[in-house]
Each structure stands twice: as C-alpha cells, then as structure tokens.
C-alpha cells in the first residue's frame, strides 16, 4: 500500500485483572484479551478484523480508540503515540477517530431527536456555530442516504437500518480520518446489510477514510475490505490481502473459518467433518499455539512454543505455513487425521 500509514498499532496487549480464586487467597490472575497485536491502516484503506466471539476483536477496536483500557503497546496516529495520550493529545484522537457500534438502537439516546443526536456531536467538537448547525445536519443526513424530514424523529420511530445510518452520520459529523466499525451490520436484516455496506464503501472512498471493519461475517468482509486480519484468542493468526487470504489461507484456523461459511454454491458444501470443539476460555489459554487443541494438523511442537508470525504481505502464525516445515506434514500426521485438510494444505 503506497498511501501513508494513518494508524500503526504496535504490540498492543490488553489484560483484565480477575478476582482471586479461593476466597481471595489464590494467585493473582488476569484475562489476556489481546496479546501482542500489531496492525497498520493506511488512509483510504479498509481492514477487516474477523474472529469468533471472545477472540478479542472488539476489545482491540476499543483499545486503539482509547475507549477501553490497554495494558501495553503503542498506538501511533500519524506517528504520534496515543496509547498514553492525555489532555489535548487525547482530544485530537477523539476528533480524528470515530466508532460505529453494533446495536443501532442501543447506541442512540432514545430521548434525543435525530437533530439533537447529531447536533450534540457537532457542538461537543465545536464544529459549527448554532447557526450553521442545521444545514450541516441536513448535509450529513443526505450523505448517509436519509431524508431531512427525519430530523425531528426519535430512534423509536426509526427502523434498525435508519438508526444505523444515524450512527454513521454521528461518526462522520466530526470528519474523522479513522473509523472503527464494530459488527455494525450484524443486527440488521440481509436486505438492509447490503445498503449499509455499500454506504461504508462509498464513504470510505469519497472521504479517503481509514477503516477497521470488525465482523464475524466473512462474506461481508470479503466484499468490503482490502486486507483482512484473523484473530483467535487474542492474537492475529493470519493477515494479508483479502483475496489471497480467502483463496489460499495459510493458517488452519482461517481455512476452517472459510470452510464453515454456509455458501450458496454446490461446489462449496460444508465439510462432512467440521472443525471440532470451541474456542477455550481466554482465562486458561493453552500452551504453545492457542489453536492446537482444535487443529487437525497439530504436532508436538505446536504444544510448546507460540509460533512466530511470519511472511511478507501475507503473514501467518503457524509452523506449518509455507516456508515453514510444510513438506514434513504428511509424514508426521497421526493416522486418525482426516486426509482432506492435509491434501488441501499440500496443494496450495
């Protein structure tokens, strides 16, 4: 990507302290929600962050906007570290970044009209004097494809899709350069999801926004995003240009995720032996590669060491990734391992 780097997250970790077990006398424990995650977003680029529930993708999104705690790491916005920014620096972060939330009703105050909800953002950020404000609100509503006649309605009178558009208008009101959209279409109907995705696509291009699109719906991510990062239990396990990741995934987890998408395609029926198990609790992370207990290809090395995150533009954290020791895979596999995943790994 030749565009200048807008956001550069380096080795971000988020830990939540937990209550001690054994009535407060047990060892001090913490939950590792995000471990050592790095990510770059250029202006005008949309990065998809996917993973299952509990993978830490929302925690990461909130931490980089300083809407949640972070334990370690740097968040560089135009080269300036925001991870520990305060006062005026933090205010700059707030002015240049915005978040779009999942629940379109829950993220709006039910007692404020559309005019008040958007006007509030303009007022707080001192964007417009009272005089020009209404004109700007109409402009923003038009931008997100809403009619100016909705100005005096409250969220209760609006549909989910309309509320989500208001959420987007509020995010755009501050003229941000970076937007984090957290599952922003998950609560909407299929026919409405597409409308919001198209809107984000258009706005991203027109306003040259950097965007992190957090989602569990891989098909939507594929449509919208330039690059994709896959998270599992707090770590990014694979990252690369969207089509490369979809066509030739390098991490067995990414492969399983893609195979599990229920597609309308006779050539892509769900595997007869789907990936077993569920992600373990982030409180007791498995040793070594966190995915090894579910991985059909796991070997003894996977249980001891965290695999390095390697590769060029398309990187993966798996010792079996191409460039690793891929060619030995077939020989070391236990007999019970289904043959198909191995064959697929060898062919790509």
């Amino acid at each position: 990507m030749s565009a200048p780097v807008l956001l550069d997250v380096r080795n971000l970790s988020v830990k939540f302290p937990m209550a001690r077990s054994r009535m407060g006398l047990g060892p001090r424990r913490s939950l590792n929600a995000v471990s050592d995650v790095s990510m770059r977003v250029a202006a005008g680029e949309t990065v998809g962050l996917v993973g299952e529930s509990g993978s830490g993708k929302s925690t990461f999104g909130r931490a980089i906007l300083r809407l949640g705690e972070l334990t370690r790491g740097e968040v560089l916005l135009d080269g300036q570290d925001m991870a520990r920014a305060r006062g005026e620096d933090l205010a700059r972060l707030r002015r240049e970044t915005a978040m779009i939330f999942q629940d379109p009703y829950g993220s709006l105050n039910p007692r404020l009209t559309v005019r008040q909800a958007i006007g509030e953002v303009l007022h707080v950020h001192g964007k417009k004097g009272a005089a020009g404000r209404d004109a700007r609100i109409v402009e923003l509503l038009e931008l997100v494809g809403l009619d100016a006649t909705l100005m005096d309605r409250r969220p209760g009178d609006l549909s989910g899709g309309q509320c989500q558009r208001i959420g987007i208008a509020r995010a755009l009101a501050i003229e941000p350069r970076l937007i984090v959209a957290d599952e922003c279409v998950a609560a909407l109907d299929v026919s409405i999801q597409g409308q919001i995705i198209n809107l984000l696509m258009e706005l991203g291009q027109r306003m040259h926004l950097g965007m992190i699109f957090i989602a569990h719906d891989l098909a939507m991510v594929r449509r919208l995003c330039d690059r994709i990062a896959v998270m599992y239990l707090g770590r990014i396990v694979e990252e690369g240009p969207t089509e490369q990741v979809f066509k030739a995934p390098r991490h067995p987890y990414t492969r399983s995720l893609i195979e599990a998408i229920p597609e309308i395609d006779p050539a892509r029926m769900l595997p007869s032996a789907p990936l077993p198990g569920e992600p373990p609790s982030p409180v007791n992370l498995p040793e070594g590669c966190a995915f090894h207990p579910r991985c059909p290809l796991a070997r003894s090395e996977c249980r001891t060491a965290v695999p390095p995150f390697v590769g060029g533009a398309h990187r993966a954290a798996c010792i079996l990734a191409p460039g690793g020791r891929l060619n030995e895979v077939g020989e070391n596999l236990p007999e019970t391992t289904p043959a198909t995943p191995t064959e697929r790994i060898e062919t790509c």
Binding site: V190, Q193, E263, I264, L270, P274
Partner: protein
C-alpha cells in the same frame, strides 16, 4: 423422505388484537412436512416465520395473539388447533420438539442437564428412574456431548454455547418426537460451531428419520441443510418449493432479491446488491402484494390485488402476478 405428510399446515392465520384494533400478522400460510424432510422457513425479522411455528404448536407468546383460522393436521388426522390441553401436552414433546436461538433461557439453570432430560422422559413415559437415566445418557451421546456420564451432572452455565445448543437438542429429542422445530438455533453461534450443529441435525435426520422445520434468516444455511424452503415476507408465504429449485430459479422478486443480496463465494468487489426500502410494519401493510412498494416489476395490478400462491412448476409455488422468468420462457 417418504411421500405421506407428517404435518400439514393449511391456511394458518394469526391476528394481534389490542387497543380495539386487529392486525393480521400471519396471513393464510400453508405447507406440508414429510418424514425425514428438512423444511427451511426463511424471512427477515418480523416476517412471521417464528410466529407461524409458535402458532402451530399453540405456543403464542401473548394473550393478544390469536389463531384466527386454518388447521394443523398431524399424521394421525388430528388437528393440533382443536386438541384438548391434555392431548396438546402429549403432542408437544412426543410428536413435536422445539429448540430456540438462545438455549440458556430455555434450560433450567438450577437443575443438571441430565436431570432435565431424564425428568422430561419420565413425564411422557412410564419408566423407572434408572431406565430414564440410561436413555438420557444415550441421547447425550447421540447429540455429540463428549463424556456424557460426567457431563450429565453439569449445569447449563458450565456448558459452552455450542454444548448448550446440543443439550437443548437433547431435551427436545428426549421423548423421541417425529418433528423438530428449530427456531434460528445457530444464529448466536460462531460459524465453526454452526457447521457442527448443522451437521448434527443432518445426522439426526438420516439416522432417526426426524423431520425438521428450520427457521432462519440465512439463505446460505438453507442451501446447506434443507430439502424444501418456504420464503415468508410480511406475514405471507411468497414462495414455496424444492430448495434447489427456489434458490437457483427463484420466481418471486423478493426471493430473487434475497438470493442476489448474498455476497457470494466468488468474492469480487463493488457494490452489494440490495433491496431498496424496508419491510412494512404490521399495522401499516400495503394493499395488494405486500412486496410491491419495493419491487421493480410492480404495476397497478400488484398494488390492487393480492396474488394467490400458485404452482408455477411441479412442486414450486409462488405468489406473484409477474413471476421472474415465466414470460421469458413462454416467449422462447
């Protein structure tokens, strides 16, 4: 799949009555279910897909909702809608089991999973505790819960999301019903776990001859699981037929739009197909075809008269005045 229908729903209608007015929210829905068939009911939120299934179980969630017409015939010729309370209890559980999107709120949090299932078996069958317990372990094994002897003593909160859904399926299957109604059972699950549950439902159909009504908003899931599909829009059935037929050659413009809305497995960039506008609310239904304000092919006829559900091809019915591709074929 055999030919004799195990469940026949005929012209089922449900109305909401309150504040002196009455709105029809389910309007004349008909379909049949055969032994070993998986029927998908798809539609967006508020289309009435869940309500239809609750109505046919006589489990409407509010006293203001009332079945205003229709019949639900069982295999033995009885109409569920005219059963006595006692007979109804027998039908629910022994004939029809039900699972939901959120298993946690439909399982008892203070009773172990094993006891819940064993109790439900004993409620319907006169068998001893030991026999019920053994049968319960057998069911847990069938739904893929590992190590059933020890997991049977666990409580709902000790189960993960996927395991809870398996436990819920075990409860529904406790009395060996012929029919399972599954109301968005995988919507709250992660995709890899969803794939496991879909696989399990297919296995249960293959091994036990279970018939399943699967309610979902996800056409992809329908494609992966179902034999037949019924598409609902604003309380009415708009298309009904064999799954491949309906998804590959949709006749109703709404179905065609929904299929086109799928992002697709081939990737590609550019705009996603959308259906303009939004579904109508129950108190404010448009006249004629309820989809006509959002439909590109609508004309004066569509706004004036409700299209009946007609068979366009063998086993494929559609409620549209101008079905997709029909005129084109006639000319060709």
């Amino acid at each position: 799949m055999t030919d004799a229908p195990i469940l026949t729903v005929n012209n089922l209608s449900v109305a909401y009555e309150g504040g002196g007015t009455s709105h029809t929210i389910i309007d004349g829905v008909s379909f049949t279910l055969r032994r070993g068939e998986i029927l998908g009911i798809v539609g967006e939120s508020g289309s009435g897909k869940s309500m239809t299934c609750r109505a046919l179980m006589r489990l409407l969630p509010s006293s203001r909702l009332r079945v205003t017409g229709g019949s639900v015939w069982l295999e033995d010729g009885r109409d569920v809608l005219s059963l006595s309370q006692g007979e109804l209890t027998q039908v629910r559980g022994r004939r029809i089991g039900m699972i939901f999107q959120n298993p946690a709120s439909h399982l008892d949090p203070v009773m172990s999973i094993g006891r819940q299932i064993a109790e439900s078996i004993r409620h319907h069958r006169k068998i001893g505790r030991k026999e019920a317990w053994a049968r319960m372990l057998d069911i847990l094994r069938q739904v893929g819960i590992p190590d059933p002897e020890s997991r049977a003593n666990a409580y709902t909160h000790e189960f993960s999301g996927g395991m809870r859904q398996r436990a819920m399926i075990a409860v529904a299957l406790a009395c060996d019903p012929d029919i399972l109604i599954a109301d968005e059972p995988t919507t709250a699950l992660d995709v890899t776990v969803q794939a496991q549950i879909l696989r399990l439902l297919q296995q249960l159909r293959d091994e036990r001859g279970l018939s399943i009504i699967f309610i979902t908003h996800d056409l992809g899931v329908v494609y992966q699981l179902c034999d037949t599909v019924a598409v609902m829009y604003a309380g009415r059935l708009c298309e009904y037929g064999a799954m491949h037929e309906v998804i590959h050659r949709p006749r109703h413009h709404y179905t065609a739009g929904l299929v086109a809305c799928q992002p697709g497995s081939e990737g590609g960039t550019g705009r996603v197909h959308t259906i303009p506008g939004q579904p109508p609310s129950p108190g404010d239904m448009p006249p004629g075809c309820r989809f006509h304000p959002r439909c590109g092919a609508a004309d004066a006829l569509c706004a004036a008269r409700q299209p009946p559900l007609r068979e366009t091809h063998e086993g494929h019915a559609c409620a549209c005045h101008h079905p997709v591709g029909i005129e084109a074929e006639a000319e060709a």
